[in-house]
Subunit: 142 residues, 4 copies
């Protein structure tokens, strides 16, 4: 999937995620679905904490248009996951993120990407990314 | 994303999934992560109910190697989702599924794909798909 | 935990809930946490579908103040759960529900209760249950 | 619900839990169901990390028989939760835990309890708590 192993330092924003008991499925490891929740979490942490997105009342919200994950290694509770985020492409009203997950020992466990389309909260139609948010996304950019 | 709208009849195996209150996120619709749980659910329902996979004691288990989803329309609790499953490619020890999700009115809300690699439960190394399972997967095939 | 086995007919409102692959935990059965999601789901299905609660814009919303569950038997995906709901006590701004869960064969798997306090969406202070909602809750009452 | 506010120092074992985007529900705060996942997580973290429970192959496993939560205040992603655990009663094959959750500012957001019955992994019949596990539970005891 990658010729070179990535590391958290390849990603401009990094978040620690603690695993939960019920993340583990019947086969004893974190279920594939939860990896997307880790993607969703690091993205929204960045948007809220770093870029000032107001999820409760802001006029612009981000909706997922497409996502993808390559699963490279298992991880299991009670480990901790490090999620890395960077921006691969920034359009007028959309952004394509690249993401990677690492286990507690720094081993890459997944890589993926995720497209957010920003829309008006009321009409749910595509809306230009607000300037302050765009400036922050550019800092994570290619 | 598609030039023609798909329908459940394009998929050889179909499952009804009832939504849950906490599927809805802050923005009032089912969170993107749950769509992958619906994929996971229809796949494993087929493997267990139709193809006889023994998740508790069988010697072969399926692990997700890669997955993808295009999100086409929102859906919200208390609606119901129909998940459709078919086989796009069947290898020696892996299978690539194509999936689609429809809301309670039959509107396509997502399309995606998912690769299962079958492995030995103990060693977690790739293992040929058992003949009885392969026969069932072929019935869903291209 | 109960001297007599309950049945869905002891509950005025009943909902079918389909299980999902990731509901099963390491021990092969639905994780205890999900039982509360089934409670939450049948309650909100009743409030939205039967009693007209507007979760997106209504001025009154229901917040959980207390909940409890006795776990009586396991259940596992790909089974289906029937959730039963009745009203045990209806106050000015709160309601205490009683709930039961049954597996696909009708065997009781859990009993519990759940207290909703209705609050103003903006101030989050306790607010009288709106008359139309109260009338519906009374129909499920003791 | 309590006459005195509790603090993490009232609990012998404490765990940090990072919140996730989809923990927030339509009303903008962590859904009530997730609180039980935080209980489940701190309990199993203690059992695995501190008390040596082998969730994959050990002969004894813990099943939830009863749980309860009083919800005292909301919390929302991207905050962090501190979960505190202590043992209220230790029987021959069961243990009753008391739990509390605190937000990132140390405010108590919930208190509850949870009963684990230890059973033989194969027969799922009640089994005495193994001595090494019992010794660790006693350290959290009343």
């Amino acid at each position: 999937m990658t010729t070179e192993m990535s590391s958290p330092s390849d990603y401009g924003y990094v978040n620690q995620i603690t695993l939960r008991w019920k993340d583990n499925d019947v086969y004893g490891h974190v279920n594939n679905v939860e990896y997307y929740s880790f993607f969703d979490t690091v993205i929204n942490a960045f948007l809220i904490v770093e870029a000032g997105l107001d999820i409760h009342a802001g006029s612009t919200i981000g909706l997922c248009a497409e996502s993808h994950c390559n699963f490279m290694a298992p991880v299991a509770f009670p480990d901790t996951v490090t999620a890395g985020l960077r921006v691969a492409h920034l359009g007028n009203s959309s952004v394509r993120y690249e993401l990677a997950l690492f286990d507690g020992g720094g081993v890459p466990i997944a890589e993926g990407w995720f497209v957010h389309v920003f829309v008006d909260r009321g009409t749910r139609r595509a809306s230009p990314i607000p300037p302050s948010l765009r400036a922050k996304l550019e800092e994570l950019g290619p």
